[in-house]
């Protein structure tokens, strides 16, 4: 799959400017960071230390999305290709979610339940 040629651009703003795609991706990173913060806030009610750990991850995730907010790297000796940069960032998110899931699993199995804690 390659970029459309100059005669294929048409009137679709998406074809004329990939900045919209970048903006959507940037917003997606922000939503993911918010999801981490929301999970951290919930876990905070159940287990303070684990909740704080997850809350700390949220700004890290937001910061990881900075590449999506930066310039698209060029192929001629510029910054590294996007897929190379993405692999590391997305791997970090995957490891974070698996780690958080394991922590939550331990809390779910071993922790004392607190019905109505969110009230």
């Amino acid at each position: 799959m390659t970029a459309p040629g100059p005669d294929e651009t048409g009137d679709d703003p998406e074809y004329r400017d990939s900045g919209l795609a970048r903006e959507r991706t940037s917003l997606s990173w922000t939503r993911t960071a918010i999801a981490f913060a929301a999970l951290g806030g919930t876990v905070l009610k159940v287990n303070l230390a684990t909740g704080l750990i997850i809350l700390v991850i949220a700004p890290v995730i937001w910061q990881l999305g900075r590449v999506s907010r930066g310039a698209i790297p060029g192929a001629d000796g510029g910054p590294p290709a996007m897929s190379e940069v993405s692999a590391r960032r997305l791997f970090v998110i995957t490891v974070s979610i698996v780690g958080v899931a394991l922590l939550c699993l331990v809390i779910a199995i071993l922790g004392r339940s607190a019905p109505g804690a969110l009230r």
Binding site: S18, A21, R22, A35, S83, A87, V98, A101, P115
Partner: protein, 132 residues
């Protein structure tokens, strides 16, 4: 291919080294990244739902392990989806770089099957709880 080789193929350094092909249109890379992020948020939502069921719901009368039966599989599914999302991203990005057809995703099937299973368990737990 052994499991260790498969796992090693997912490491960022391996992904970068074996990328092959040419850098695709940034819009496709962005779209692939957004799909990964959407699955990641789904995974997080499953984890928080599972934890909420186990920790915050009152126990089901007559079914003491009911909350764990419902919550633990959701948390495990969250972890599985996170790893699967990354695997899918790697496969899609590789296909984009090489100009190959996009691989078929099994993730919607995994999600639908597991949620259906958990819904059935939930119905059974509620029925048992109501009968006692």
């Amino acid at each position: 291919m052994s499991w260790t080789t498969r796992l090693a193929a997912l490491l960022p350094t391996t992904v970068e080294r074996d990328a092959g092909g040419t850098e695709p249109d940034p819009r496709f890379t962005f779209a692939n990244e957004r799909t990964f992020l959407a699955w990641s948020r789904t995974a997080l939502a499953l984890v928080v739902a599972g934890l909420g069921i186990v920790q915050l719901l009152p126990p089901f009368p007559g079914v003491p392990e009911g909350r764990h039966l419902l919550g633990v599989p959701l948390i495990v599914l969250g972890a599985v989806l996170a790893v699967a999302a990354y695997t899918e991203w790697v496969r899609n990005q590789r296909a984009l770089r090489r100009g190959e057809p996009m691989p078929t995703s099994v993730m919607p099937w995994i999600l639908a099957a597991t949620i259906t299973g958990i819904a059935i368990i939930a119905a059974v737990v509620l029925l048992l709880s109501a009968l006692r």
